[in-house]
C-alpha cells in the first residue's frame, strides 16, 4: 500500500499526484517509470515518474484520465492509498554532454520530459524545450519546464497560446534558423513522436523517443510491451522505454496500442454507469 500525499487537477482531465514511495524515490533516474494497481481487481498500468524527492520520500505522477484505471485513480484523494506500486522500472535516459538538445514534449508527455530536461541541463547541455498541446489549457508544467530550459517554444493546434501549429512546425523553424541540434528527445503521443522522428531523420539528427506501450508485469516476463526497432523485437519495459526514434515501427506500435479498444470502452462505460 502506498499513501497518496497530494492530488491536484492541472487541467480538466490531467492531474498530478504525489505518492509516498521512499525506496523508489531513492533509486529512480530520469526516464524511468512505475507500474501501479489501484485496487485488487485492478489492472497494472505503467506511468512515468515526473518528479521525486529522496529527502521527503515521494514520487510524483502526472496522469491523464483516459480509461477506467486512470479515472478511478483520479478519484483517490490525499490520505487514501494505492494498492500496488512497483518501480523504478525501465532503463534510465542516457545522460551525457551532447551539446545542444531539443526536448519535445507533447500534451501529457511534457511531464516525463521534465526530469530528462533537468538531467540534460545538469550535465551541461544547452536545452531548448518545445511544448505542444491541442489548446492552451493542455500545455502543462510551463513554469517548471522554463526553469530547466535555456529556451522554450510553445505551440497549440488552435493557436490559443504560443505559436499556432504542431511541435514539428516549431522544430522545423529551429532547424531552418540554423540552430545546431545534437540530439532531439521527443515524448508525447505516438503520432507526434512518429512525425518528429520523420523530420529529424531528414536532417540526420539523432532522436530518442520514449514509448508508452501496453504492459503487464514490467519485468520482461510477458512480452505485451514488444515493439519493432530496426529489424529486432524489443521489450519496452526492460530494453526501453527509450529507443532510437528513427528505427521504431510507429505504425505497428499504434496498432498494438489499440488492441483492447473495445474492452477499454466497455470497462469505462460500465464504470461510468455504476
Amino acid at each position: 500500500m502506498s499513501e497518496i500525499l497530494e492530488k491536484e487537477f492541472i487541467t480538466d482531465s490531467v492531474f498530478r499526484m504525489r505518492v509516498e514511495a521512499p525506496e523508489i524515490a531513492r533509486k529512480r533516474k530520469a526516464g524511468q517509470f512505475i507500474i501501479l494497481r489501484t485496487c485488487d481487481e485492478g489492472e497494472r498500468i505503467p506511468l512515468t515518474i515526473a518528479d521525486a524527492s529522496v529527502k521527503e520520500g515521494w514520487i510524483e505522477l502526472v496522469v491523464q484520465v483516459v480509461g477506467k484505471t486512470t479515472k478511478s485513480l483520479s478519484e483517490l484523494d490525499a490520505g487514501e492509498s494505492i494498492c500496488d506500486l512497483v518501480g523504478p522500472l525501465g532503463r534510465p535516459t542516457h545522460i551525457e554532454l551532447y551539446g545542444s538538445v531539443v526536448v519535445v514534449g507533447g500534451g501529457i508527455g511534457i511531464a516525463p520530459s521534465h526530469p530528462i530536461a533537468q538531467a540534460l541541463r545538469a550535465a551541461g547541455n544547452r536545452v531548448i524545450s518545445i511544448l505542444g498541446g491541442r489548446t492552451k489549457d493542455l500545455v502543462i508544467m510551463e513554469e517548471k519546464m522554463r526553469a530547466t530550459s535555456d529556451e522554450i517554444l510553445i505551440t497549440t493546434d488552435d493557436g490559443s497560446y504560443g505559436m499556432k501549429g504542431l511541435v514539428t512546425d516549431a522544430l522545423q523553424a529551429l532547424i531552418d534558423k540554423g540552430e545546431k541540434i545534437d540530439l532531439v528527445v521527443a515524448i508525447g503521443p505516438p503520432i507526434m513522436m512518429k512525425f518528429v522522428s520523420l523530420l529529424t531523420k531528414k536532417y540526420d539528427i539523432p532522436t530518442l523517443v520514449s514509448l508508452n506501450t501496453i504492459m503487464v508485469d514490467g519485468t520482461g516476463m510477458c512480452g505485451a510491451c514488444r515493439v519493432t526497432v530496426g529489424d529486432e523485437t524489443k521489450f519496452v519495459c526492460v530494453d526501453g522505454p527509450e529507443f532510437d526514434g528513427h528505427k521504431v515501427d510507429f505504425d505497428e506500435m499504434m496498432k498494438r496500442l489499440r488492441m483492447y479498444e473495445l474492452h477499454e470502452k466497455e470497462s469505462m462505460d460500465r464504470y461510468a454507469s455504476s
Binding site: 533509486k27 512497483v86 519485468t219 514488444r226 489499440r258 460500465r270
Partner: protein, 478 residues
C-alpha cells in the same frame, strides 16, 4: 488388518484407482479444479497396490527423495497425520507437487508395480496419494508448523517467491535466521500463481503455503524488482548476510516468424498472466482485458502449451488448435495434461510448424501458415528431429495465436550484477551441490539455474541451497 495379508500377486491384481473428475463438457465453462481427488476409500485401495519394496526404486526417482513406501503405508494404516508428516520431511509443497509433478517420468516411472504390469500408467498412483495426504491436512484446518530455532541475528534475502525461493525460505528460517522474500509481482508464488491455471492448481493452495511461511516469521515484500529498486550489492549493504536468487525462467521465447507482433499474438506467459494473475477471465468485473476470440492456435507441446490451450477454451474459444512440430509421443507435457486437453476438445495438429502469421488491415491476426513435418534422426535431446516436408504449406484461419515454445532465464539480476557468472543461455552458474554462485554470499537455484524445468527440481535445488546457506552462516566460510 486384512490388507497386510495380501500377497504381492494379489496386490498386482488391484486395478489402479481412477480419480473422479469434472465432466469435460462442463468444466470448459468454469475454472474450477478438474480432478476432485481421492476419497479415503479410493486412497486406501490405491495404497494397497504398493508392494512396499525394500529397495524402493520410486524413492530414487523422486528428486527430493520422499519416503514413498513410508507415507503410503501410513495412508493404508489410516494414519494420515503420519503420512503427511513423512512427506513434509523433504517436501514443503506436497499439495502442489501432488498435482503438478511429472510423476510418470519420476517416481512412477521406476515403480515396480508399473514395471511388472508392463505399463507405466499402471504404476502406483504416487502423485495422487501425495495429493490425498496434503488435502487431508488442509481439510483439518491448522497445519502443523515446523519449529523455528532461536534467533541467530543473521539475515537472508530471497529474490523471487517461486517454489525455489519458498523452499529456501522455509529451510533457512527453521535455523533461526531472519528471512525476507523480495517478489517482483504483486502476489507471491511465481509460476504457481501467474502461470499454472486455477483449474490445475487452485491458487488458494499456494496462498496457504505462503501464509504458513509468514506464520513462521518469514517477511514477504511484494512489488520489489531486485536489480532495480535494490541491486544485490545494495542488499548486502542493507545488512543481509546471504542472498538466494530464485528468479525463474521468465523470459518468453518467440519464434521469429513474420507477423509475430500482430494484435492477437501472445506469449503464453502474457496470456496466462492475464488470465490467472490478473483474473481476466472475470472481465469486466476485473479490469484486465484478454482477447475473447473464437479460433485460437497454440504453438508448442509442453505443459505451458496445454495450459494455454485449455485456458483459451475456458475463455470461450470454439476451436483451439495445438500446433506441435513433433508427434504426441515426444510432447514434453505431463501425460495427464495432454489427455485432459484432448478430452476438452483441444485439436492436436501434430507434425506441423507455423511459418508465418497473417494479419488483416487493422493489424489483427487472421490466419497462420503452417508446414507439415516428419521425424528424422535423433537430435541432442535424444528426440527425433522434426524436418519440414517441402511444399506442404497450408493455412488455418485463426484470430489468436499463443506462442508457448519455452522460456529463457530472466536476465534482470545477472544484468545488474555482473560478478554473478552466467552460461551461454543466460542461466546462473552454480556449484551443483552447494548452489553457490561466483559471487560471495550469493546462492541461486530453480529455473534461473536449470533453465525452464519443473517445480520439484526447483524445490530440490532450494533444499540443497538452504543447507549450504545455513552452513555458510554458521561457519562464515565461503
Amino acid at each position: 488388518m486384512e490388507e497386510k495379508k495380501l500377497t504381492p500377486k494379489e496386490r498386482l491384481k488391484i486395478p489402479s484407482q481412477v480419480m473422479p473428475e469434472q465432466d469435460p463438457r462442463e468444466r470448459i465453462h468454469n475454472v474450477d479444479e478438474v480432478p476432485y481427488g481421492y476419497d479415503e476409500e479410493l486412497a486406501r485401495t490405491e495404497a494397497m497396490r504398493c508392494l512396499q519394496c525394500k529397495k524402493a526404486p520410486c524413492v530414487k526417482g523422486c528428486p527430493v527423495e520422499i519416503d514413498i513406501p513410508g507415507f503410503i503405508q501410513s495412508i493404508l494404516d489410516g494414519n494420515y497425520r503420519a503420512s503427511i508428516n513423512t512427506i513434509k520431511l523433504t517436501n514443503i509443497l506436497p499439495a502442489v507437487c501432488g498435482r503438478v509433478c511429472p510423476q510418470e517420468e519420476q517416481c512412477q516411472m521406476t515403480c515396480v508395480v508399473g514395471k511388472s504390469l508392463k505399463d507405466v500408467a499402471k504404476a502406483v498412483q504416487i502423485g495422487k496419494l501425495e495429493r490425498f495426504a496434503a488435502d487431508w491436512e488442509m481439510a483439518q484446518g491448522e497445519t502443523e508448523m515446523p519449529e523455528v530455532k532461536s534467533p541467530t541475528e543473521k539475515r537472508v534475502a530471497i529474490v523471487g517467491s517461486g517454489p525455489a525461493g519458498l523452499t529456501v525460505a522455509a529451510d533457512v528460517r527453521r535455523e533461526g535466521h531472519e528471512v525476507t522474500i523480495f517478489e517482483a509481482l504483486h502476489k507471491p508464488g511465481g509460476v504457481l500463481i501467474y502461470g499454472i491455471p486455477e483449474f490445475r492448481l487452485p491458487k488458494q493452495i499456494v496462498m496457504r503455503e505462503v501464509e504458513n511461511l509468514e506464520k513462521m516469521g518469514v517477511e514477504l515484500k511484494t512489488n520489489m524488482v531486485i536489480g532495480k529498486v535494490y541491486t544485490i550489492d545494495e542488499l548486502f549493504e542493507e545488512g543481509f548476510d546471504a542472498v538466494f536468487v530464485g528468479t525463474g525462467a521468465g523470459l518468453p521465447l518467440f519464434m521469429h516468424i513474420p507477423g509475430e507482433n500482430l494484435n492477437g499474438v501472445y506469449s503464453a506467459n502474457e496470456y496466462l498472466t492475464r488470465a490467472n494473475l490478473m483474473q481476466a477471465y472475470s472481465f469486466p468485473e476485473t479490469d484486465t482485458p484478454i482477447a475473447r476470440t473464437k479460433n485460437v492456435a497454440v504453438f508448442g507441446g509442453g505443459n505451458v502449451a496445454m495450459d494455454s490451450a485449455r485456458t483459451a477454451l475456458r475463455l470461450g474459444a470454439e476451436n483451439v488448435y495445438l500446433v506441435y512440430r513433433r508427434s504426441r509421443a515426444e510432447m514434453p507435457a505431463r501425460v495427464e495434461e495432454v489427455e485432459h486437453a484432448v478430452e476438452e476438445g483441444v485439436q492436436l495438429h501434430l507434425l506441423q510448424n507455423p511459418v508465418r502469421i497473417i494479419g488483416d488491415e487493422n493489424g489483427w491476426v487472421k490466419a497462420i501458415e503452417c508446414i507439415k513435418m516428419e521425424l528424422g534422426e535423433p537430435d541432442d535431446s535424444g528426440r527425433r528431429r522434426p524436418v519440414p516436408i517441402k511444399n506442404s504449406e497450408f493455412m488455418i484461419d485463426v484470430d489468436t495465436c499463443i506462442v508457448a515454445i519455452g522460456n529463457a532465464s530472466n536476465p534482470l539480476v545477472p544484468n545488474t550484477t555482473p560478478d554473478i557468472a552466467t552460461n551461454k543461455w543466460g542461466n546462473i552458474v552454480t556449484d551443483s551441490e552447494t548452489l553457490k554462485t561466483s559471487k560471495k554470499g550469493v546462492f541461486a537455484g530453480g529455473d534461473i539455474v536449470l533453465g525452464a524445468a519443473t517445480v520439484i527440481l526447483a524445490m530440490g535445488q532450494g533444499r540443497k541451497a538452504a543447507v549450504a546457506i545455513n552452513e555458510y552462516l554458521a561457519s562464515g566460510v565461503w
